[in-house]
């Protein structure tokens, strides 16, 4: 057997994750064992998506699919070993991180996201919990169980994607068509969360999520986002004004002007005006001081 499963580290709805090692190299790995017997429709869609998209991507900031094998009628994905994730790091108050550290993480995250988008893949579930850390501090975009190909213009999609707090306004409105801009919104919310160290838009339920989102960032209007009022759920909305620059400065005390521009670019209501991954990567935020930290020097274990 080329791989050993040494310790069970997690169990999700469709998979069990084990830590183990690769026999021939001694390399530490994680094995995601897909529970197959429980699905009457054969191979589960999440498993299929994960296999399908991870096969296509080789990038320093996307989780590496080392191997796939079948054993005892189970599908096993061998993934690189990633000891922690951004959610754990944010929550662990004993870990201190600097604006330069945040910049390094945003850079790596956006490189990974950009690689997905240029391969015509939408992630659809970006959140701190799905941004994993390698032992040398690299961020890896992981969990492609909700991913899909960037749709053709006429394709009808489900808006029931992305974990609630990171859900873009078009999804909150139940849009049947959306683009890679939904992933950028999630990155924007993650950026805000990194600066605040608490979730930025923590809606209690789907209705509350709209309330929380628009109270923080202003209710979109037809002027900024043509025809936004034609979404059926728009009528019931409380209209909040967008926050002034000063209000944002007060909320994000440590943020530079360029950092705020960067955040506002990603958290633009109108998906067509929202920054794309290239615009984000080329923003002045990454070019001004301080330079992003060297990932391997950031302390992410308490």
């Amino acid at each position: 057997m080329e791989y050993t499963k040494e310790k069970k580290v997690g169990e999700g709805t469709y998979a069990v994750v084990y830590l183990g090692s690769q026999h021939s190299t001694g390399r530490k790995i994680a094995v995601k064992e897909i529970k197959t017997s429980e699905f009457k429709d054969g191979l589960d869609m999440s498993a299929i998506r994960e296999v399908k998209y991870l096969q296509e991507m080789q990038h320093p900031n996307v989780i590496e699919l080392v191997d796939i094998f079948m054993a005892y009628d189970n599908l096993n994905l061998v993934l690189e070993f990633l000891p922690t994730d951004l959610e754990v790091v944010i929550k662990d108050k004993s870990i201190l991180f600097t604006p330069a550290d945040i910049k390094a993480w945003m850079l790596m995250t956006l490189r990974g996201v950009y690689h997905c988008h240029r391969n015509f893949i939408l992630h659809r579930d970006l959140k701190p919990n799905n941004l994993l850390f390698s032992p040398d501090g690299q961020i890896k975009v992981a969990d492609f169980g909700l991913a899909r190909a960037i749709p053709a213009p006429h394709e009808i999609l489900t808006s029931n994607v992305v974990t609630r707090w990171y859900r873009a306004p078009e999804l909150l409105f139940g849009a049947k068509h959306y683009t890679s801009a939904i992933d950028i919104w999630s990155v924007g919310v993650i950026f805000a969360e990194l600066m605040l160290r608490i979730p930025y838009l923590p809606g209690q339920n789907d209705v509350d999520q709209m309330e929380v989102t628009f109270r923080a960032l202003g209710t979109p209007t037809d002027r900024a986002w043509p025809e936004v009022s034609s979404f059926t759920s728009y009528n019931k909305l409380q209209i909040y004004p967008p926050p002034s620059r000063d209000e944002l400065r007060k909320r994000f005390i440590a943020a530079s002007e360029y950092a705020l521009d960067f955040m506002c670019g990603m958290l633009t209501m109108n998906p067509q005006k929202r920054w794309n991954a290239i615009e984000c990567l080329e923003s002045d935020y990454f070019k001004e001081l301080p330079p992003p930290s060297d990932p391997s020097t950031i302390k992410i274990r308490s």
Partner: protein, 395 residues
Amino acid sequence: MTDVQVIEESATNAVTANVVENEKEAPAKSSAENNKPPNYKRISDDDLYRHSSQYRMWSYTREQLEEKRVDTNSRAVASIEEDLLKFRQAHNLIEEEVKILEAKAIPLTMEEELSLVNFYAKKVQVIAQHLNLPTEVVATSISFFRRFYLENSVMHIDPKSIVHTTIFLACKSENYFISVDSFAQKAKSTRESIIKYEFKLLESLKFSLLNHHPYKPLHGFFLDIQNVLYGKVDLNYMGQIYDRCKKRITGALLTDVVYLYTPPQITLATLLIEDEALVTRYLEMKFPSKEKIQEQEPELEPETEKKEAQNDESKIEKDDDQGIENDKPSIDSAKLLAVIMECKELIEETAPLSTEDAKRIAAKNYYCQNPSSLIQKLKRKMNEDTSAAEKRQKI
């Protein structure tokens, strides 16, 4: 660290260098131009395609493809012959029985296997279309089915038993979920028979599920031809060409061009079949020869890079020589035309198998796997003959 260097830095990390390539970075470019990392390289759409599993695992030269089929076939033949030998040793066969075995229970040749696979691949298409599945799902079904039989022999797994499985998996892979029960009902099959080989199928597909079909390039060319030949093509006419090419592409998926050429090349080949003059004119305008470039310096969009020949490694080297400033795709329209001509010929020369021939091959396939049925059939016939003879004697 300054400027775009920050973004380009990780290019040192991997083959898939992580460089932001784009045209809009003009202001930063001048200052960063001189301090690019030594291994700076723009990632082209070609590079991305070369990293796709379709290219890495399912693209071959003609020789490799032939070799693969010979290999799959000869392994199956060897095991079938062994089984037949065992059968003959285990049964005390009379001369007539040996004779009929030698005449009818013969393993299939590689060519016969291929014909049978393509015959059933067409069936996959017909069934998938009958189920009203979207074009891409139909295409993926065909692709899965044919790839499965690059790895497996029809002598080991009957094509009939895998037809529904491939369509069912293609639906799921293309995000077009149908529950197995309603699929079974629509396809007049059973849950068990659909699911039975799903793992085997996934494994044979080497877990590579993402297909790049030529339909997206078709849409791209459809728009770009109108752009490049603005005012010289009729919109209605282009619409007709588009619809006809879409059908031709589905047809091309039943041939070996999918293993030998890139999706945009296949698209151009189908366009060539429809209107050779149009494509030639388009390519000449799109990729003018060197002298013409100096005359007019046309703007080339980066997407054109997709369309160059997949195995044309020389192109990359050329780009490197020219440096980054001069990274316009250097595509030789004559060379490209020659490649897609070859592709077109292969599409046109692939003849479908007649149902009769398919039946003949399928029968052979059945007998070599089930020699006992052949013997029983012979016995029945001999009994009938003797009883008929007895009857005649009585008369």
